[in-house]
């Protein structure tokens, strides 16, 4: 178990702040309703992550009621917020952190356009340069899995391991996204809904034009290396 040194405590506090604040991006971009959706963030250099409590309204989320968990998904007893239950998707987040050591953030929503593709059960084809930039190709469909054991987490990890996409659409369920940190995973959640929407609209006109694979490769490689102020890029 992780020893909570002053350095680790500082890291926990920073992740609590980030995770609590990032939930407002889910609201801003219309990805969630009521208490649905959740963001988590790994505590750097510790076997811990921070996640949203279950069934609490977005207006009431604060750093102090975020919940600190170990990598097997157990609440750290006595820590702030530990009187509440963590998100009902905690086991899936924990499974991802245990099995994908480079992942620093996980997000789950029921954003409506991504859910539409998840219910239809077909990957979102890569027909926009923004998709090529951000996801490097199609958004894959993960298996149908029921909450209650590790099958959701396993489906996420199996689908995304070695895949360029930071987003998976779990069949009949919705998107899970990963990132180098919580912010990066939230960005992926915002972008997956954006492309799910545009491509669905495009399908209403007819069959969208495919982008040739070499162009997709070129866009993805460039974007991961040079975009933005941060040269380290995102996870993938």
């Amino acid at each position: 178990m992780t020893d909570i040194t002053p350095e680790v405590q500082e890291a926990i506090d920073r992740v609590r702040d980030d995770v609590a604040a990032l939930h407002s991006e889910l609201v801003r971009y219309g990805l969630v309703v009521w208490t649905g959706g959740n963001v988590s963030g790994r505590v750097p250099d510790a076997d811990l992550f921070v996640i949203k409590p279950s069934g609490v309204l977005y207006d009431e989320l604060t750093p102090a009621n975020m919940i600190l968990c170990t990598l097997d998904g157990a609440v750290v007893e006595g820590s702030p917020g530990s009187d509440r239950s963590p998100s009902s998707d905690t086991a899936a987040h924990a499974y991802v952190y245990r099995n994908m050591p480079d992942v620093g953030g996980v997000v789950h929503t029921h954003s409506p356009y991504a859910v539409a593709w998840a219910a239809y059960g077909e990957p979102i084809p890569c027909v926009t340069t923004a998709m090529a930039d951000e996801f490097g190709g199609e958004i894959p469909i993960g298996p149908f899995a029921i909450i209650g054991d590790d099958s959701i987490g396993r489906g996420i990890v199996e689908t995304l391991s070695g895949h360029r996409s930071r987003a998976v659409l779990m069949k009949n369920h919705g998107p899970f996204t990963i990132g180098k940190d919580a912010r990066d995973a939230v960005k992926a959640a915002v972008m997956v809904e954006d492309v799910a929407r545009s491509v669905l609209f495009s399908r209403q006109l007819g069959t969208p034009n495919p982008i040739p694979q070499p162009a997709i490769d070129s866009l993805f490689n460039r974007y991961q290396n040079v975009y933005g102020q941060d040269p380290t890029g995102s996870l993938n």
Copy 2:
């Protein structure tokens, strides 16, 4: 008739506060325009409920202008707000309270995606895990019924009695939802629009993938028992 003891008065005041405040959730989630839509809440341990006035803008709703009614839908004379008419759907709410004693809240909206299904006249099929969680299966269609007598109330009660769903789409009209209290019925109204939207989007891609009945049953039973901070779950 109910005797207005200090305890009942306190309960009335609490329900007035809740019902007035909960209308803002209808606005927040885009379920209503202009003065359409209404929330009501039963006063616990009394044959009374509180409902929105008719034809008043959402910005002008306050606890004091909510209207107190008896279970036959008559305004309690002399109570605050009683100089106004109650919602034109009051008779339907009253019918539900008289005939479904466990119902503590009723909501009606013309939320656009749910109305689309109501006008088409087909139940929303259960193709997302969120629907299975929240409604335990499809959202049923109620009969076509005209305002002015008990036919809307009767249609709601006949459709929802013994049904897992807390939402019914009255044909060519729109959704009515019930709950253990007003908040729970509002949540159902938010969720029914959310699933109506996602499933309609999914139908634009093709035929959504059905979820096997045992998986629906398992999701519904789990969600009703363990989700959220409140172990008592919602009405159904």
Copy 3:
């Protein structure tokens, strides 16, 4: 020409306030972008109406920059705001006021779902009880008419005279609505977009269920007479 007595001046000021404020409802309900859309209101007991200036952003509209016009659409010289041009749709509004004496308000928008029906050129069928309540049947299509003479105004008047609907979809253009006053016309603009949206969504599922004519008649007659706090109902 109207003599501007103190009573008329007071009425003008009231209509300026109303018309300026009501434009924010067009923004709130997503009916307009940029400077598009306009509301006007007749000055009671005077041959005058007040309308939005042309090409001014919604944030910059105030009672003082609304423009006072005579019923032939000319700006009243020297009145506040008269240094600006009135809405480019002023001639159409003026034509309606001249030819429909019971109309006290006119609204024009390019709200997206109503425009979709206008471009398709087919009336919105009456398949929801809210449409029956508010419009008494289908929303009619007006003729294709070009700005610059009285053809838009004439198209509106010819389509709506003797029609239950307070809204007309001018072909390839968009909705014009009328009302007993500016507020009532704004309500009709909000409602026509709402029904345009729901019925378009319903058409994506298949053919919506028609409502029998006697039920439409009954709903319309009831709603015009008893709904809301104001027993006088709206124009039609």
Copy 4:
């Protein structure tokens, strides 16, 4: 190279203010998510333009962090904001300014309905009078072009030179718009999304009604000359 006289400096400051402020219109009208989208404005009487920094959130944009560039797309060293990278689309903006001397503003977004048409690869047909007013006909599709050289800029210039439309949908990418200044280009970005949306909705009903070419010509000519408070009209 431009000599930064006090007059030029004043012009730069004005354009910084405008460009920073105009980005909020992209947010207001739902044209952008996260850090996507960018506005630039030419500095009058100077071979310079001002553009958004790359990868910075909309809430954090200020006049001081806008980036000043020469017409070959290089950052002016030592100027405020020059410690950051300019938008990754800077080369395309620069190419337009070099090759279209009347253009004073350029905007790029991934607004969802315009992207849908871009991915489908078909021009938006002119089926509403608002399109005829604003764009004088259909919105054209530009070539598929990859970021990294001048091919995007060249595609924009080749498509829009001599075209009435101030908007081009770059294939599988999204809209670029031009204007006499940054505000005019932003207006075109708002309007192209508005028409992309209405026409896509209309296509869901069936085939929209075409507008005869003479009527399109008449509407376009009138609108460019007389609409709004500013008789000079917009660029085209």
